[in-house]
């Protein structure tokens, strides 16, 4: 056994100090880890979900004027992972995370109310009645963000013509599925389920009003409202009822969900209107998803051709 040279022996004080330092370092690291994990749990969020992989829809007409916009499309990933669909949770990534539990086949849709041909029809059969076309629309959320989405669908007016509403029909009401088994968000009463939206008859018959069955050349993702949803591009996004199970023609104005829950914040018309601020944020500008800056919001979301529908109505009530 050799003996270490005198100058290589650590003095006792330094040795104790090093041990103390090491101990304190470990304690500090442990504290940092505990506090950091706690903070991350309270504040952080999982990485964004992946975009869904879905089959292509064959044989649709490509987008053509006037049903297209010369603006960059929002990425497929962003369109399919960031939206509101409270039936699957209130976070904007919840639909993409949770909508896989939705079963879209079979999907009976009830068509009733003031209509000559009330019927129950499966979504696939219904979609088969019409020629599917591509429409590139701006989508402006009431929360002041926006997208440009290449939808696939057919004009709502074609469906209305086919089922023949009676003379009494003044409105069309759309009801979304509210099944707590398939939709975890419906287990919480954040909204009075089911979600109901509606349009005035002339709005529904405007050529821009679309029933979408797909986007980006593919089948509509569950999180976007499969198998069948409404798209009304001059109105705030919440007007676009998703996963529709009932289309009812009515004489009275439908009691639409957000207008019932918060009438001071959301009107029945919900036309995109930069002049009328939401009580909690300005509607004058919007953030286009994928862009950093804000761009001005256009009246009727840039679809000025619908202005004729609202002649004689106080524009301040058009929110």
């Amino acid at each position: 056994m050799g003996t270490a040279p005198r100058d290589q022996v650590t003095p006792e004080g330094v040795y104790l100090h090093r041990r103390e330092l090491l101990k304190n370092g470990l304690y500090a690291a442990g504290t940092a880890l505990a506090v950091g994990s706690g903070m991350t749990w309270l504040v952080g969020k999982a990485p964004p979900p992946d975009a869904p992989e879905l089959p292509a829809l064959a044989g649709y007409q490509a987008a053509a004027a006037p049903y297209t916009v010369a603006e960059a499309l929002t990425s497929y990933h962003d369109v399919t992972t960031y939206n509101n669909f409270y039936e699957f949770g209130v976070d904007k990534e919840d639909p993409a995370r949770n909508a896989h539990t939705l079963r879209t086949k079979p999907w009976p849709i009830q068509i009733d109310g003031e209509v000559a041909k009330p019927q129950a029809v499966d979504a696939e059969t219904l979609a088969g009645w019409f020629t599917v076309e591509e429409r590139i629309y701006r989508m402006r959320c009431v929360e002041a963000w926006s997208m440009v989405i290449p939808w696939l669908g057919f004009p709502l007016r074609d469906l209305i013509a086919r089922v023949e509403p009676t003379a009494k029909a003044k409105y069309v009401e759309f009801t979304s599925l509210a099944d707590p088994e398939q939709m975890p968000g419906v287990r919480h009463r954040v909204l009075p389920w089911p979600y109901v939206e509606g349009l005035r008859m002339d709005e529904a018959q405007h050529p821009l009003s679309l029933i979408a069955v797909g986007l980006y050349g593919k089948v509509l993702p569950n999180q976007s409202g499969a198998p069948l949803r409404l798209v009304v591009p001059w109105k705030y996004g919440f007007k676009g009822a998703k996963s529709i199970v009932r289309i009812r023609f009515t004489e009275a104005q439908p009691k639409t969900t957000w207008a019932v829950v918060a009438p001071s914040e959301y009107g029945f018309y919900a036309n995109v209107n930069p002049a009328v601020s939401h009580p909690r944020w300005s509607q004058a500008t919007e953030r286009r998803i994928g862009e950093l800056g804000r761009r001005p919001t256009l009246p009727f979301n840039g679809y000025g051709e619908v202005a004729d529908l609202y002649k004689g109505i106080d524009p301040r009530t058009l929110y």
Partner: protein, 218 residues
């Protein structure tokens, strides 16, 4: 390396462990959300609306730290713990740091420093008014967070000033509550914790005062 070989007893005159690892540990841990945001911003994995996500996380981190700083005194009153008091100042300053970055991101990235739009927001949107008021209240507290300030103001006055932290936290919770659309569970939870912390202080102080009075009578 002065004093490194001192016996423990001279470095701990009160016989209480100084917990030298506590402050650096807490500060480093509290920086996790900021570090994670920076990494995810750099790698483009903050989701479709990175500015909104950043604002939400920074704001919530500020509220969490503010509530934690206000829990230090109740923790001593309830459990007799003194270690939280050693990190109270750091928790408060970290809250102000997160709130400052939150405000900076809102002003510079969200509103592109459009002062007219920001003024309109503060004046007309109640949730932004509450948030702005909370932030403004925090600034004098951060400025007077030093020992020198306590001496300069005198402890009683300093303490009275720093009770504003409760008002700031309440306004921050209100800012959160008015911001969410329908699911108010989280903001109400923070508001409830704040109310409970304040209640502990009031109840303990009142019962002590009564105890003192009774002792005086006896």
């Amino acid at each position: 390396m002065e004093g490194t070989a001192e016996p423990a007893s001279t470095r701990r005159p009160l016989g209480r462990p100084p917990l030298p690892w506590l402050k650096p540990g807490v500060v480093a841990g509290a920086a996790f959300p900021a570090a994670s945001l920076a990494l995810r911003a750099a790698s483009g994995t903050l989701g479709a609306n990175p500015i909104a996500e950043t604002l939400n996380q920074l704001g919530l981190a500020a509220l969490v730290l503010l509530v934690a700083s206000l829990a230090c005194t109740p923790a001593r009153l309830l459990f007799g713990w003194t270690w939280p008091l050693r990190i109270r100042r750091e928790l408060g300053l970290l809250a102000v740091a997160y709130a400052s970055i939150h405000v900076l991101v809102y002003v510079v990235l969200d509103q592109a420093a459009n002062l007219a739009a920001i003024a309109e927001d503060v004046a007309e949107r109640p949730f932004i008014t509450a948030g702005a008021a909370a932030f403004v209240l925090l600034l004098p507290l951060a400025y007077t967070s030093t020992n020198a300030s306590v001496r300069r103001l005198g402890f009683a006055r300093w303490q009275r000033l720093h009770r504003l932290a409760y008002a700031a936290a309440a306004l921050a919770a209100l800012h959160f509550l008015w911001r969410v659309k329908v699911d108010v569970t989280q903001p109400l939870l923070y508001a409830a914790i704040l109310a409970a912390l304040l209640a502990v202080r009031i109840i303990v102080r009142r019962s002590r005062r009564q105890g003192n009075t009774r002792a005086g009578e006896g």
